[in-house]
């Protein structure tokens, strides 16, 4: 069964996991209350793949929080899937429309999949688009569509071709190819009026896949120096992992954070832990964000040298105990957690992916010249051996993030890019 159909935009539904696909923000008032007059700026639809507590939606919530409230009233978020950030985002915009349920397939999605499975791709796409259009028909028509992350590109297919699009690209190769089929990427970049990228390697990738240089704007991730409570990328989720133990400053911890998996390189933690043990180090290796699941599940019935902490309300309560904050990622365009490490003055050791080498250059952190685990562990040991180096790196990163990645710096640029895309 699908969720209930569209409701009048003036109704108020503050229940985060309500069956209704449309959630109207408490800040929204009906036209009768004069909201139209208060509204400033173009009507902006922001499409996002989901509202999970991961980098792409968290960045959106930070940018929206820094948006003047008068402009928030012009923003309508369209999420393909919901998630725990729904209530947060609801409070920061005029409305949130969730297109698909997260715990099952909608009838339209199942029908669409059925057609695609039997080779009738066009019919499958039309069914899904019709269902989504029906859910969005009561939203005010957009002056501009921001596709926040390539995973939300399917939403672009249900808006008029006359609506200008800004694509905020936050993916590298594997994630981009999974979000937009390779053969459709050139057309997508052609259609986008503006292509924002979170790091230089993402910009280079976009250029290789057909984006014109004149359209591209660098729009990196950000943290909020004025509100550290909201700058944690991870908030509570029911991960079922509860083996985290209290940390003490008497122990040396090598810690990382994020969604476990190939992309974040969590399979590499065991290699790091075993090598540290072999070298006689007493440092412990841990990860905040839960234990690997599915095909990545490891060591059932065997000893596991890694401590897996569940996702935390404030992960930096644990992560701040790290002598070394590690990013063993294979593909990470510009991880917000690296910026948060700067906020918390942590010493960072990273693999050379996405924007990390630029972020950590000039002594702001350490990164490998290539994806080499032996080099990575050497760098971790280097930092473990020198607390002064760790402090110095943390301080430099802090200052750099403050001047380059504070939301107070980034949000005005983001709003300006949206306004320019809308032609205002």
């Amino acid at each position: 069964m699908e969720g209930a159909g569209p409701v009048n935009s003036s109704s108020v539904d503050q229940t985060p996991m309500s069956n209704s696909p449309i959630h109207t923000s408490p800040i929204h008032t009906s036209p009768a209350d004069g909201a139209e007059e208060q509204r400033q700026g173009p009507v902006t639809w922001i499409a996002v793949h989901d509202l999970s507590l991961t980098g792409v939606p968290v960045l959106l919530s930070r940018l929206l929080r820094a948006t003047p409230s008068s402009q928030q009233q012009s923003v309508h978020v369209v999420a393909i899937f919901g998630g725990p950030l729904l209530s947060t985002v609801q409070a920061l915009c005029a409305s949130v429309t969730v297109l698909e349920p997260t715990d099952r397939r909608s009838l339209s999605s199942a029908a669409s999949l059925g057609f695609i499975t039997v080779g009738m791709s066009r019919a499958g796409s039309l069914i899904r688009q019709a269902a989504w259009r029906a859910k969005l028909m009561r939203r005010p028509q957009p002056d501009v569509l921001l596709v926040h992350g390539a995973g939300a590109w399917p939403v672009a297919e249900v808006v008029s071709r006359n609506v200008p699009i800004a694509l905020h690209l936050q993916e590298l190769e594997i994630a981009l190819d999974r979000s937009i089929p390779l053969q459709l990427q050139a057309a997508a970049f052609e259609r986008a009026k503006t292509v924002m990228t979170v790091s230089e390697p993402v910009a280079q990738l976009a250029a290789r896949r057909g984006a014109q240089l004149g359209k591209m704007v660098m729009m990196p991730g950000c943290v909020d120096f004025a509100d550290t409570a909201h700058s944690a990328a991870l908030e509570p989720i029911a991960s079922g992992v509860s083996e985290g133990q209290p940390l003490t400053d008497g122990e040396q911890w090598v810690l990382g954070a994020g969604t476990p998996g190939w992309r974040k390189g969590t399979d590499r933690l065991a290699a790091i832990a075993h090598e540290l043990i072999r070298s006689g180090s007493s440092a412990k290796v841990g990860w905040v964000g839960g234990r690997p699941q599915g095909q990545n599940v490891t060591a059932i019935g065997r000893a596991d040298p890694v401590t897996w902490f569940a996702a935390q309300p404030n992960p930096w309560e644990i992560l701040s105990h790290a002598r070394v904050f590690i990013l063993p990622s294979r593909e990470d365009p510009m991880p917000l957690v690296a910026l948060e490490a700067g906020l918390h003055r942590s010493a960072v050791v990273a693999m050379p992916t996405g924007g990390l080498p630029s972020l950590l250059a000039s002594g702001r952190g350490l990164f490998c010249p290539s994806q080499n685990m032996s080099d990575f562990v050497d760098l971790v040991q280097q930092v473990l051996a020198s607390s002064s180096q760790a402090e110095e790196m943390g301080e430099r990163l802090h200052e750099y993030v403050r001047s380059h990645h504070d939301v107070a710096v980034i949000a005005p640029l983001w709003l300006q890019a949206l306004s320019q895309t809308a032609g205002r």
Partner: protein
């Protein structure tokens, strides 16, 4: 082994006909039964694959996904996808099995095939003659968790319906008894086995040429599907660290499907690690024996593997094998007294160091390979293990 002239009739249920461990081993076993002139075996496949024609040559084979019967399965999948899983009455589900003749023994070749095998056995039981239900378990915890019913009650009912379990390794038996709560008296360890490989000298030379690209660098081979369980990303990490070795070994990953998401991910890994001239990715092949014979070392980077046939095939080719301590690799390396080649799961750098030792000591490497070759030839070929499996199934 002399099998009784009047053997019981057997129906094997396989989850697919892919060129992967459990289906390949079943094919070896069916071929052996055919050689023993055992009558009355048949095979029911839940889905097809490249081994289908081979199966048809050794036993009457029926593909369950063909025809209208699959629509009931599709209905179940659809209702589950919609978030309202409907447990169809067993009689309705059993309609899918209407054309399958009865037999005295039903064998699920994997846990993934057990639900269907159980339906088949239950149908016969209703007729008053309960057949024996045997499950040959080729899975460890992670996969078992995915393929068994999620409901604890349904899962327990299913497992309790099984008369005997054949476990593919000691690790599998431990999972069954300690973590799935099955009575040890119902569990029999029958380790995986292979048919003796016999690649021609020319095919081996061609494989060497293909893998080495004309260089004299040593070749480290890993074979398996491009799934995270098999650890292709760890193989890339391994090769990256080994590039500091004077011999700069080349790595070859044999397995996977060009264009698949795993293939693209692996290709990207190779580029990111700067290993374009040091790591070769080759697709699945029916003729893997020549690659084993042409390699210098074989590694298993799997983080969970009940008993990979690839390590048995490597041993049969008299190659030294290293692996993470999961499943049958433990049994194999323990049997030949080379525990130093068994690394903790995920210890890529430890494996790299152990490989370096063998690369720098070809005499030791050859000695290990010969020990493994002697062991597998003496104990794990089809003629040694198939009778033991037959005993569990039929006696």
């Amino acid at each position: 082994m002399n099998l009784p002239s009047l053997s019981p009739t057997l129906t094997f249920v396989g989850h697919d006909a892919s060129r992967t461990g459990a289906p390949v081993m079943l094919l070896s076993f069916l071929r052996w039964l055919q050689q023993q002139d055992v009558q009355g075996t048949q095979l029911l496949l839940l889905s097809g694959g490249p081994l289908y024609q081979d199966y048809c040559k050794v036993a009457p084979t029926q593909l369950l996904s063909a025809g209208w019967a699959n629509s009931i399965g599709y209905l179940s999948s659809l209702t589950a996808a919609l978030g309202h899983p409907v447990t169809l009455p067993a009689r309705l589900q059993a309609l899918r099995l209407k054309g399958v003749p009865d037999s005295q023994i039903v064998v699920a070749n994997t846990l993934a095939a057990l639900s269907t095998a159980q339906l088949l056995a239950a149908r016969k039981a209703r007729a008053g003659i309960p057949p024996r239900l045997v499950c040959h378990v080729h899975e460890l915890d992670g996969v078992a968790e995915r393929v068994l019913p999620a409901s604890p009650v349904v899962r327990q009912e299913l497992l309790e319906a099984v008369d005997r379990f054949a476990a593919a390794s000691q690790a599998v038996a431990t999972m069954l008894t300690e973590r799935l709560g099955i009575d040890p008296l119902r569990v029999f360890v029958v380790e995986e086995f292979i048919e003796p490989p016999s690649p021609s000298a020319q095919s081996v030379a061609e494989a060497r040429e293909q893998m080495s690209d004309g260089s004299l660098r040593p070749i480290i081979l890993s074979v398996g599907a491009l799934s995270h369980r098999k650890g292709p990303e760890r193989f890339v990490d391994l090769l990256a660290t080994l590039q500091s070795q004077p011999s700069r070994p080349r790595g070859v990953w044999l397995g996977g499907q060009p264009g698949s998401s795993g293939w693209l991910e692996m290709s990207q890994n190779i580029v990111q690690a700067g290993l374009e001239d040091s790591l070769l990715l080759l697709p699945n092949t029916e003729d893997s024996a020549r690659y084993f014979a042409a390699a210098d070392l074989v590694v298993s980077t799997a983080i969970e593997d009940p008993f990979p046939l690839s390590v048995l095939e490597a041993a049969a080719a008299r190659k030294a094998v290293l692996g993470f301590e999961s499943g049958g690799v433990i049994d194999m390396l323990s049997a030949v007294g080379h525990l130093e080649l068994l690394l903790p799961i995920g210890d890529t750098l430890g494996m790299s160091a152990a490989i370096a030792v063998l690369l720098n000591n070809p005499i030791e490497r050859e000695a290990v390979g010969n020990q493994l070759g002697d062991w597998v030839t003496a104990t794990h070929l089809v003629e040694q293990m198939a009778p033991a499996l037959w005993k569990v199934l039929a006696q």
